[in-house]
């Protein structure tokens, strides 16, 4: 059956293995030869978030199949690229996961795109012949799921070094994020987008946490219009795409179109899947021995605190048993903590708005005898000295300020680990050491690649 040839063709494939689903996508869209010409130089944007296992990053099996089909179609150069989201250099991730050693024999190369060169990605995608996006779909606290339009980010999502104060009222954090994520698409749209939702991480994501659960949907979505592909993906995942800030932002910027989408392959309605999305209310993330109090919060603090609380839940079981009680206060004017002990003030709003709160000061009372009474009692044995109650006011030292708007995740882990120390927080201390390991993996053997 011939399919209408429009730019808004979106293919949905369902198969018994991810590779069969990928092949089906290509068949539905017209084989790789339709996208790749002889001697094309191709840049493939993948997810390479952290040196963790699947499904945090794009499946390597899928990447390898894509490289093979590009080569078969005549591509001369294939480069892969990504930005990590936890402040880890791509070359460090490569040194651990040996991606180049895996893809180089197939004729591809992983580029070390780093955040210090803003125009680097732009240069690459403007100079390559074809620009592909292969995106792993998982649940995401901010945008419901990790859409292909998030994949092209030139930003370090969780560890922004920028100190710009965000306006709580206008939720500028999310707006700024949307604008940064879409900036690339204003310059050049990808020629092929694949959203891999064959396996989707639900519950807690997009990194592997205690509440993460992997479900097999057997689905993959592909097309040439990023907005249309993400639109269909959201629909498949049971979300209303028209409420998604990225889709709204993309439509506002005329990056894509949500009308006239022509779905080919399996039926969308009957293929919809039920997904458990990330907790939208931070208080609902149950962390042992930890009370979470939020005031007015913008998506900046919500986003980073979401990850922090999940890290605590996943790795700090023992620490929180030792600590016995901890309160995390987030946003402007949060409620008072249950106890004045181990109060973590997360973000500038929480720090500033609680400056005069009662938990900041510790009042202790002490019985004391004035000196004159003491002397009198020495001479007059029968007379007991008058004891007076004296109130002492001290700043509460068991308060930890985590500055930032929003705070940087890595620095937050470091501050909390230092605050509790290795005796009280052995698990977090190990986690912090692990983070340091992949942030500081030796650069000796690193090579800089390029298209």
């Amino acid at each position: 059956m011939s399919q209408p040839e429009t730019d808004l063709n979106v293919a949905i494939a369902k198969a018994d293995t991810p590779l069969h689903a990928y092949n089906e996508i290509l068949t539905l869209l017209g084989e790789m030869e339709k996208f790749v010409s002889i001697n094309d130089r191709i840049f493939v944007k993948i997810n390479l978030n952290t040196p963790e296992g699947f499904p945090v990053n794009t499946s390597f099996a899928l990447i390898k199949s894509l490289i093979k089909s590009c080569k078969k179609a005549g591509a001369s150069e294939i480069s892969l690229g990504s930005y990590s989201s936890k402040g880890v250099k791509i070359r460090n991730i490569d040194q651990l996961l040996k991606i180049n050693e895996i893809v180089m024999p197939l004729g591809a190369q992983l580029l070390y795109l780093e955040e210090d060169s803003e125009s680097e990605l732009l240069d690459i995608i403007q100079n390559c012949d074809k620009f592909f996006v292969v995106n792993q779909v998982n649940v995401d606290p901010l945008f419901d799921c990790t859409l292909s339009m998030m994949n092209s980010a030139e930003i370090n999502i969780l560890n922004s070094q920028e100190s710009t104060e965000h306006d709580l009222e206008g939720d500028f954090y999310k707006k700024e994020m949307v604008s940064k994520l879409l900036s690339i698409y204003k310059k050049r749209k990808p020629d092929l987008i694949i959203n891999d939702l064959y396996h989707v991480m639900e519950g807690a994501g997009p990194y592997i946490y205690k509440d993460s659960n992997l479900i097999e949907t057997q689905l993959m979505v592909g097309g040439t219009d990023p907005v249309a592909v993400d639109f269909v993906t959201l629909k498949l995942m049971g979300k209303n795409p028209l409420e998604n800030p990225l889709i709204i932002g993309a439509c506002e910027r005329n990056i894509g179109n949500t009308d006239n989408i022509n779905i080919i392959g399996v039926d969308l309605e009957s293929s919809k899947v039920n997904i458990n999305y990330c907790e939208k209310i931070l208080e609902d993330i149950t962390v042992h021995n930890c009370s979470i109090k939020t005031g007015s919060t913008c998506s900046g603090c919500y986003h980073i605190a979401y990850h922090l609380l999940n890290i605590m839940k996943t790795y700090m079981t023992k620490d929180l048993k030792y600590i016995t009680r901890q309160s995390v206060l987030i946003g402007e004017n949060p409620p008072e903590p249950d106890l004045n002990k181990n109060v973590i003030l997360f973000g500038n709003c929480a720090i500033k708005s609680t400056e005069n709160s009662s938990f900041r000061t510790i009042y202790t009372s002490k019985e004391s005898i004035p000196l004159s009474d003491k002397i009198k009692s020495i001479f007059n044995k029968g007379k007991k000295p008058n004891k007076k109650l004296k109130t002492i006011e001290k700043p509460n030292k068991q308060v930890l300020n985590i500055p930032g708007c929003p705070p940087n995740l890595n620095s937050t882990i470091k501050l909390i680990s230092n605050y509790y120390g290795k005796q009280q927080g052995p698990n977090l201390y190990l986690y912090y050491n692990l983070m340091e390991t992949y942030a500081s993996t030796s650069n000796k053997k690193a090579k800089k690649g390029g298209v």
């Binding site: 390597f60 048993k321 692990l434 992949y438």
Partner: protein, 499 residues
């Protein structure tokens, strides 16, 4: 139809069982039988007591059983033989009633697909004919009987290791090919069937032989105790052969020191039999693949058992690691190695979460067992994980690269063609495994912090352990010195105070 050697022993067991109730002091009946399907001699009354304890837990807890032998061919009535056992106590077989040829009929179609309906029909037929209400059936295909017979015929000729290998193969064949059907199906049988399908082409006997080759020579005893039973299993491995001996209850003193001296043993472990049975039945209740949460729970229980030295288990000689003075001295230099405070509640969750984030929720891991001395790879096993649960274990056929090459990177890239993408290759040398098995299992009584430290140092050498590609946890493990690694890990492994 049934092998004579097996039948004679079985009849002896039935005869003894029927005497127990009418005898005032059955424990004084000094009779010996073999544990069915094994060459191991055991006091008949001890076997009676053990069956009384184990059968209801693992097989079926109600009385009266029917055994049916079915033809392998689709004939009109597949029943070749059938017997009924009237059991006053679940599992204690006393007398077999041989049913007439056509008392029960089973047709090839429908009947075996609807086992519940078949059971009800057989139950009704036996009540009508014999007035006995059976509560379970055991169906043996003729092929299973043939295999059992061959196994029993060889029992006298086989060495102990050969017997264990044969028995494991027999169990794998009978359960894996559904040659034995029990209704109601016990958890043990379902668990074994799922385990067999998880481990695919790996023979249980080869796992046994591998573990046997990796273990040192030893002579230990395990003393099992309950309020009513006490017996000892003496296990010995000499250079080429193993032996197992079950020592009669009255010959097995509860004093471990005396037991050790009397039998010239390296060490004696005392376990509460009820705890062992309950733990095993909890394992058998699990569905395979075992879900992550269940796995955490099982590991928590295992570690809790391990830390409960002197309460749930005892050992003589007492492991050095429990010596207060040694522990105190080590504490002085900054290490807390009190195994009684092993963090059983925290460790499984922490380790599995770390494993998941480093390895991934879906992954394929190739494990290569190398032999550095012979410069070859002994075994290659592929593990597949799905959503953090182990779903498949398979043996990998050795290729030229695996045979002649110890370079983990080359092996990784070579196997991609045949096995698809492999996430990690772990290369572990048999010497390291031998060291761990010897130090931490067979000679645990002798394990000192210094020996633990030596094993840790070994694991840091790529000659003994290598991972490709790497992961943050492995990088951290390699980058730290053994001492600072201990400092980092011990506070996680050992609790500061009891909770």
């Amino acid at each position: 139809m049934i092998n004579r050697y097996f039948k004679d022993n079985w009849n002896k067991i039935l005869k003894f069982n029927s005497k127990v109730e009418i005898n005032e002091n059955p424990e004084l009946l000094e009779e010996f039988v073999r544990i069915p399907l094994t060459p191991i001699q055991i006091d008949a009354f001890l076997l009676y007591r053990l069956t009384e304890l184990i059968y209801p837990k693992f097989i079926h807890d109600q009385q009266n059983i029917a055994d049916i032998i079915l033809s392998d061919y689709s004939i009109d009535n597949m029943v070749l033989e059938s017997y009924v056992y009237e059991t006053k106590i679940a599992g204690i077989h006393e007398k077999a009633i041989h049913l007439p040829k056509n008392a029960i009929s089973i047709t090839p179609k429908n009947d075996l697909d609807n086992i519940e309906g078949l059971f009800i029909r057989i139950q009704d037929a036996i009540i009508k004919e014999n007035g006995i209400k059976i509560m379970s059936i055991r169906i043996f295909k003729k092929r299973a009987i043939d295999l059992l017979n061959t196994h029993c015929e060889n029992l006298k000729k086989l060495s102990f290791n050969e017997f264990v290998s044969n028995l494991l193969d027999l169990v794998q064949k009978c359960i894996g090919n559904e040659l034995i059907i029990l209704y109601p199906e016990p958890d043990l049988l379902r668990f074994m069937r799922e385990l067999i399908s998880l481990s695919q082409d790996i023979k249980f006997s080869s796992i046994y032989n591998l573990l046997n080759n990796l273990s040192p020579t030893y002579k230990h005893a395990i003393s099992f105790n309950t309020k009513t039973i006490s017996f000892t299993c003496q296990i010995e491995k000499e250079v080429h052969e193993n032996t197992v001996e079950v020592i009669r209850p009255e010959q097995s003193p509860r004093d471990l020191e005396k037991l050790r001296e009397a039998n010239n043993l390296e060490s004696v472990i005392s376990l509460d039999l009820n705890t062992v049975i309950n733990s095993l039945s909890e394992i058998f209740e699990q569905k395979i693949p075992i879900k992550m949460d269940q796995m955490k729970l099982l590991l928590q229980k295992f570690l809790f058992g391990l830390r409960s030295f002197d309460t749930h288990w005892k050992m003589y000689p007492r492991p050095k690691i429990y010596n207060v003075l040694i522990r105190y001295l080590i504490r002085l230099i900054g290490f807390n190695v009190n195994l009684r405070k092993l963090s059983h509640w925290n460790l499984p969750e922490f380790i599995l979460n770390l494993f998941n984030s480093n390895i991934g929720l879906n992954s394929k891991i190739l494990i290569l067992l190398t032999n550095n001395r012979n410069k070859n790879i002994q075994n290659a096993i592929l593990l597949q994980f799905l959503n953090g649960s182990l779903v498949k274990i398979s043996a990998v056929n050795k290729t030229n690269v695996i045979d002649n090459n110890l370079d983990i990177k080359e092996i990784h890239s070579d196997l991609v063609e045949t096995l698809g993408h492999i996430d990690f290759v772990f290369k572990v040398d048999v010497d390291l495994i031998k060291e761990i098995i010897e130090k931490f299992i067979f000679k645990i009584y002798n394990v000192s912090p210094l020996k633990q430290y030596k094993v840790l140092k070994m694991t840091k050498k790529s000659k003994y352990l290598e991972v490709y590609p790497s992961s943050p946890a492995y990088e951290l493990f390699k980058s730290k010195s053994s001492l600072s690694l201990l400092k980092l890990l011990l506070p996680i492994f050992i609790d500061k105070h009891e909770f």
